[in-house]
Symmetry: C2
Subunit: 147 residues, 2 copies
């Protein structure tokens, strides 16, 4: 069966890459550097229902994306969350947070209204993410944790 991305995720995001059975999506809300990981598996909504292998891959992709967010934005904190109360398809947020952002120190979900990127900003942001994902991913995914 072909993988189906939830309609709301499709509307709110842009695909940056597909790595180790995860879609890496950029949320188009410019207020927060906001990545959403979606395992390429239909019909699941809880992390613990994923197979062990896909969970192990999650760690790799999650680490990669935290490093990418660190590298581009040097945030004060990274927020990681799998909520899914509204969008049921399993998806995991990775958000770079700053002490001066709109929602700090609270969570970002349900706060205010999304502000779209301008076309130029969006193109630049996608380019920056794609390049940094590629750079950090080079030879790193299978080995590089902070050991």
């Amino acid at each position: 069966m072909q993988f189906e991305l939830d309609e709301r995720l499709k509307a709110d995001t842009i695909l940056l890459a597909s790595i180790l059975e995860y879609k890496i999506l950029l949320n188009k809300d410019s207020r927060f550097p906001w990545i959403i990981l979606v395992p390429i598996v239909n019909g699941l909504s809880e992390m613990h229902h994923l197979s062990y292998d896909i969970q192990a891959n999650y760690l790799k992709v999650s680490n990669l994306m935290s490093k990418v967010l660190d590298h581009i934005y040097s945030p004060h904190k990274i927020n990681i969350a799998s909520l899914g109360n509204i969008v049921k398809q399993l998806h995991i947020h990775h958000v770079a947070r700053f002490e001066y952002d709109e929602a700090w120190p609270g969570p970002i979900w349900g706060v205010g209204q999304a502000i779209p990127y301008s076309q130029t900003e969006l193109e630049h942001t996608c380019h920056l993410f794609k390049k940094t994902i590629e750079d950090i991913n080079q030879g790193e995914l299978n080995v590089n944790y902070h050991n």
Copy 2:
């Protein structure tokens, strides 16, 4: 160096168990069945700064706790999050959510005021968690994902 639990986590929670280098804490806010996992490592605030082994253990303990929450509460959704904007010590929330709970469908953090358990409720809840953790943990931690 001895492990130090953050003062706010200490005040807000009760220790249920220590498994695979994680403290399993019950948040004393009775509005939500709310578990907090804390890796027994000082000075870290981001998931991707944990060693690979402790991250792999995280998956095991996280799966265990999701199964425990499913077993006791049959929730509509489990919310998992590592935020840490206020309490810097790395800790990962696992919360059983219901379509009729106070914060649904939004996140729980920063919503309303905590309501403490009564002494009897607290004792019963701790007993139930400890028993279910032990039951599900029997022989399962090293093998049982949904493969």
